[in-house]
Every structure is written in structure tokens, then in C-alpha cells.
């Protein structure tokens, strides 16, 4: 992969990291309502997906995909500030504050929104893919799922139906090792999730989700496969999330060190770039620029008004009004 492209991806990972770190700070300060899951540690996979998703494709982001949601906007002509504002519940958010972290959709860039009932969109993605297929559009419908989500029955219904109908679905499974506190090896019959997916007969690969080059190339291969009409594809990205459960770390020091220092996607990418003689300054400049942009989005979100109260009863039905008090 050429240096330019690697630098772009490096920047995208920083967009995500800066977004999540800024958000986390604001959440801890009590400025962000509800609950928060962050994509810290999983930037490479999200950046790899963002690099291939066209605005006319569809993706269902999971609860850690704020960064992917922002990147999608950015790559398709906008910036991520309305994603940020949504997390603050503001009128300027993509869903006017009605969705929040777990329901930030933006169909104009292919973002079909999270569904906070984990796994449910494994069923929904089939319908989008079916429509693409019936309309002979060479589009991709992508469901981002976690290792925990694999426990849901819809995993089976979805993979089975995608297979029998040869649907253009990409399953992007971010195996970060845990569902809340449950280790994947304890919750799943096979610690290698690909082995649970293989029975359905379409290509399943496992890749290092923290190696941006490997992750990007895997996504490229999958998109080629799907766009050329060859049916579904499953990628298991091995990754790790920084976030523990609640405010506590429950994993061993070694494990934390391995993932946050030795195998951090951004540090790994930086090392590679340095070895390719990219000056360290250049990398620092990328980080700073992203951090600055994110701070601006946060300011924008915080300066935005709360939604108009009329929104509370709007859009329940299309055919009927719902009465207020």
C-alpha cells in the first residue's frame, strides 16, 4: 500500500481516536447524557471499513462506531459535527437528538443507524441487501457486529438467509474478546468466530483488525467479491477495546499492555510509517489537526440548542399526528 494511502488511513484513525477521547472527556464531565461505549482501540477496523463504503452502500454501525459514523460523513462531503451533536442530544444532531449514541443514522452517507438491541440489524441488513439485489445495484450492505452479538439467534437466521439468497452482505465482526465482561472464549463454542460462520458456505476470513494495512486489504477483497455479485462475505477482525466495564479495568496488566502499547493500531501504523521515512513531525501534525477539528465539533455540539419540544411527538406515524399534553 502506498504511503499516501497509509497516511490517509492514519489520519482517519486519528479522527476516530480524537473523537472518542474528546467524547469520553465530555461524558465524564457530565455533558453527554445516557451511556457511552467508545471505539478506542478499534480504530483500524473502522477506518478500513470507512475507506471502502460508498455513500450509496449501507452500513449498520454498532455501539462503538461514532468514529465510523463521523468518517462516513467526512468522506462523502460533510464533516462529523452532526454526529457529535447527536451524542449531546442537540437539535443539530443527525437525528435532532432523538436517537443519541445508539441511534445516529445518516442515510445520505449510507449510515443506517445502530439498533441498541444488539444483533437485531443482522436481520435488517438482509432486507437492504435484498433490495440492492432485486434492483441489480452493485451495492454492499454491511453489518458491524461484535463477538458478543454472535450469541444471538439472528446470527444464524441472517447468515443462513444471506447464503441461500446470495445477498450482498458484508458481516464485519469486531472480535474484541469480550461481551461486557464475558470473554468470547467463554460465551462462544468456538473462540474463532469464523468457525461458527463457515458452515454457511461463503467466504470467511480472520484478520488482524489492528493492522490497518491488513484490515484494509481484507475489506477491499470482500468488497470486490460482493460487488461482483458473488454473495455474502464474513470478516472477523481480531481487535480489542480500551474500554473496560463501568469505570473498571477487569483484564490483566499484560493483556492491557499488549493491546494498548505493543499492538495499538495507531502506534503500529506510526511505526510502519516511520520505517518508511515519514518524518515524525508529519505524524504529530496529523494528530494535532484531528484533535483540533474534534474540539471544534464538540464546541459546535455544546453550543447547539436543545431540540424543539415539538419533536417529542413528531414522526411517530406518517399518517397520523400524535397529541401532546
Amino acid at each position: 500500500m502506498d504511503i499516501g494511502r497509509q497516511l490517509d488511513l492514519y489520519r482517519d484513525m486519528w479522527t476516530i481516536r480524537a473523537f472518542e477521547q474528546g467524547l469520553e472527556r465530555e461524558f465524564e464531565a457530565g455533558n453527554v447524557p445516557g451511556m457511552l461505549h467508545t471505539g478506542l482501540g478499534q480504530e483500524a477496523t473502522q477506518a478500513a471499513l470507512a475507506a471502502h463504503l460508498e455513500a450509496t452502500d449501507c452500513f449498520f454501525p454498532d455501539h462503538r462506531c461514532h468514529g465510523l459514523n463521523a468518517l462516513a460523513q467526512q468522506r462523502h462531503g460533510g464533516d462529523g459535527r452532526s454526529i457529535m451533536a447527536e451524542l449531546f442530544g442537540r437539535a443539530t444532531g443527525v437525528c435532532s437528538g432523538k436517537g443519541g449514541s445508539l441511534h445516529s443514522a445518516d442515510p445520505s452517507v449510507g449510515n443506517f443507524g445502530d439498533n441498541a438491541v444488539e444483533g437485531s440489524y443482522m436481520a435488517t441488513v438482509l432486507g437492504v441487501a435484498l433490495a440492492y439485489k432485486l434492483r441489480r445495484q452493485d451495492r454492499v450492505a454491511c453489518a458491524v457486529i461484535g463477538d458478543g452479538t454472535v450469541g444471538r439467534g439472528e446470527f444464524h437466521e441472517s447468515l443462513n438467509m444471506a447464503a441461500i439468497w446470495d445477498l450482498p452482505v458484508l458481516y464485519a465482526c469486531l472480535n474484541n474478546g469480550y461481551a461486557i465482561s464475558l470473554p468470547a472464549a467463554q460465551g462462544l463454542a468456538s473462540a474463532d468466530i469464523v468457525d461458527l460462520a463457515r458452515g454457511y458456505g461463503f467466504p470467511c476470513v480472520q484478520v488482524d483488525g489492528n493492522d490497518i494495512v491488513e484490515a484494509t486489504e481484507a475489506v477491499a477483497t470482500a468488497f470486490d467479491h460482493i460487488r461482483s455479485g458473488r454473495g455474502p462475505y464474513f470478516i472477523e477482525f481480531i481487535t480489542w477495546r480500551w474500554q473496560g466495564v463501568f469505570s473498571g479495568e477487569f483484564r490483566s496488566d499484560e493483556e492491557v499492555k499488549y493491546w494498548k502499547v505493543d499492538h495499538d493500531p495507531i502506534l503500529m501504523a506510526a511505526e510502519k510509517l516511520l520505517r518508511l521515512d515519514v518524518p515524525e513531525d508529519r505524524l504529530h501534525a496529523i494528530e494535532s489537526a484531528e484533535r483540533e477539528r474534534i474540539e471544534e465539533w464538540i464546541r459546535f455540539a455544546k453550543d447547539s440548542p436543545e431540540p424543539d419540544l415539538a419533536k417529542a411527538t413528531a414522526d411517530v406515524y406518517i399518517g397520523w399526528e400524535v397529541a401532546g399534553r
Partner: protein
């Protein structure tokens, strides 16, 4: 082999065939056919709805006419059937899903309640879910606890969902076409015991508006409100009561959610007495909602409390005598009306 697999469960007595009368199954089939012609973005999805035409025959001949792409047989995956429908609807298709028996809606309850019903709202109007979920509900043929239920109570408290429940072939056709045209997600309840009921049905394309009740019989003494199979039962009771000098107005709700309170309230304000009939158990269902609403809106016009006729508060037993023992019937409805008139 002559015994049916998953039923064809003798749904209701076969009426003597009169010329030009159409069964509800045929009326629904005709509606789907007309809609499939008119709306290229429409497709049908469900279990054995293709070549077989569905367990009750509602989709018969459509697979041959429209092909397997638009009349899609699925595996036994109710959650995926509704999920697929929601996803397709999100990108502008108009799926009409069949869930073979309403009792199986439990399998896709999440998809209906948390996905279809909330989609338009939670994404601030950016997506809509114009899907229809057709399903066979109701008791009356010894289907037992998992093939006989009235499920409207499962969905009464869910904003965002439309529930349609026809009582006759002509309404069934017009309401189904209106449901397909609707941009809101519609749960379309087809009562098994009405599938073979017959009436004159306009062969052309027409809609019956959602959210509007019909006065199935005019009367002046007591208003009886019901849906689906309760409507013919109420009409039967009304005919008997007419002989006793009691004039019953029968209101057929047709849409259960959002329902036409205006027509109900207007009628009760005129008659001053109301009986609500409902095939589901009494506690917490449609009957409770209607009773509450009528009391609230017509309190000062009512001479006494609204009468209620429901199924008993039990699951549905297999044995036909036991099933009959828990179900409403015309005699029970007539008694409830007589009590309203102080004649019991």
C-alpha cells in the same frame, strides 16, 4: 396423502356458495394481485407462500404470475422475515410479509416493536418502514394454545404500529390495499374463522381508509363495538335482540390502532349505552382500552358502566368444548346488551 400438514384447519363453517360472492381468502388474494401489479417495489415474503400459496391460500397463484423474486419463500426464520422486510422498506421497497400464524409473532416481536415501530421516530423521520405484516389469528377450530390466539393485545401499547383487523371480505380487500399504500408499518390481522366468509367484493382496485370505523348496523338503544369475528357475532346478537325490541348499533372498528374513537364516541353519545366485545382475554387488552375510552369520553351520557364481553382470562385449550367455554358468542353478547337495557 390426504391429511393436511400444518392445517387447513377447517376454518369456520363453509357457507353455501352463492354466485358472485367472494371469500375473504379470495378477496385478499385479489388485493395482493392488484397491488403487485401496481407497485413494482412491492414483494411478498413468508413461509411456503410461493408455489404452495401459503397455508391458507391467500397468496395462491401469485408466485406463478410474479415469480420467485417477488414472491419469496423463506426458511422458518420469523425474525429474519420481519428484519428483511424492515430493511427492504428502509430503502423504499414495500414488503408484505406473511407470518403463518399470529401466535408466532412472539418470534419477531423485537423486530416489530423495537425496529419497525420506532424506526421513523428514532431516526427523526429519515427512514420509514412501509411494510405490512399479514397474519392469521383467532380461535374457532381447535388449533390449541399456539395456533388460536388473538394478538392485538400484544401490540396495543406500541406507538408507531398500525393494527388493522377486517371483519368481512370487502373491507379486507380495501384495507389491505390501504395498508400496502400506507407509509407506516401495518400489522394486518386475518381471522381464520372469517377466511371462508363470503360477500360481494368489487373486483377492481379500491381502498378502505385506515383508522376509520364502520357502522355495521344502525341502532338507537345500545352501541356494540368489536372487530373481526366479533362483528358477525354482534350482528347475530343484534338480529335476535331486534326481535325483543332492542335496537343495537354495531360499530366495526376495522383499525385497532390508531382507532376511530370519534365514531365510537358519537355512537355511544347517541345511544347512551355501550358493550365492548373482544375475542382476547379481558385483562389489559383491546376491550379494556375501549371501555376506558368510552367511559372517559361519554361518562355523563352513560346510564351505567360499559358492558364488556371478552374471552376468559386463560390460554386457549385444544378441546373444542373447552375452547367454546372460554370464548365469547352471540348469546353472551346478547345477554350483555340486555343487561344494559336492564332486562336480565
Amino acid at each position: 396423502m390426504t391429511a393436511p400438514t400444518e392445517p387447513h384447519p377447517k376454518p369456520g363453517p363453509r357457507k353455501t356458495r352463492k354466485t358472485r360472492k367472494t371469500s375473504m381468502v379470495k378477496a385478499l388474494n385479489g388485493a395482493l394481485d392488484l397491488a403487485m401489479e401496481r407497485f413494482p417495489e412491492m414483494f411478498l415474503i413468508g413461509e411456503s407462500i410461493g408455489e404452495l400459496g401459503g397455508d391458507f391460500g391467500v397468496t395462491r397463484r401469485l408466485w406463478a404470475k410474479y415469480g420467485a423474486d417477488r414472491v419469496r419463500d423463506t426458511p422458518l426464520s420469523e425474525a429474519a422475515i420481519i428484519g428483511t422486510s424492515v430493511g427492504a422498506a428502509m430503502v423504499g421497497m414495500r414488503p408484505v410479509a406473511e407470518i403463518m400464524f399470529a401466535d408466532f409473532l412472539g418470534e419477531c416481536y423485537d423486530q416489530i416493536v423495537n425496529n419497525a415501530a420506532k424506526l421513523h421516530y428514532m431516526f427523526d423521520g429519515q427512514f420509514s418502514a412501509p411494510l405490512v405484516i399479514r397474519t392469521a389469528c383467532g380461535a374457532g377450530f381447535g388449533g390449541g394454545p399456539h395456533h388460536s390466539q388473538s394478538v392485538e393485545g400484544w401490540f396495543m401499547n406500541i406507538p408507531g404500529i398500525v393494527i388493522v383487523a377486517p371483519s368481512n371480505p370487502a373491507d379486507a380487500k380495501g384495507l389491505l390495499l390501504a395498508a400496502i399504500e400506507s407509509d407506516d408499518p401495518v400489522l394486518f390481522l386475518e381471522h381464520k374463522a372469517l377466511y371462508r366468509s363470503r360477500a360481494e367484493v368489487d373486483p377492481g382496485y379500491y381502498t378502505v381508509p385506515l383508522g376509520r370505523a364502520a357502522v355495521a348496523r344502525e341502532g338507537t338503544d345500545v352501541t356494540v363495538v368489536g372487530t373481526m369475528r366479533m362483528v358477525p357475532m354482534a350482528l347475530e346478537a343484534a338480529a335476535v335482540l331486534a326481535g325483543e325490541g332492542i335496537s343495537v348499533e354495531v360499530v366495526d372498528l376495522r383499525t385497532i390502532r390508531p382507532y376511530d374513537a370519534e365514531t365510537v364516541v358519537e355512537s355511544v353519545n347517541r345511544t347512551g349505552r355501550a358493550v365492548v366485545v373482544n375475542e382476547a382475554p379481558g385483562t389489559g387488552g383491546l376491550g379494556a382500552e375501549l371501555s376506558a375510552r368510552i367511559h372517559e369520553e361519554c361518562f355523563h351520557r352513560l346510564s351505567g358502566p360499559v358492558g364488556r364481553v371478552d374471552a376468559l382470562d386463560t390460554p386457549i385449550p385444544f378441546s373444542v368444548p373447552l375452547e367454546n367455554a372460554i370464548m365469547p358468542n352471540p348469546a353472551i353478547i346478547a345477554d350483555a346488551v340486555r343487561r344494559q337495557m336492564g332486562r336480565s
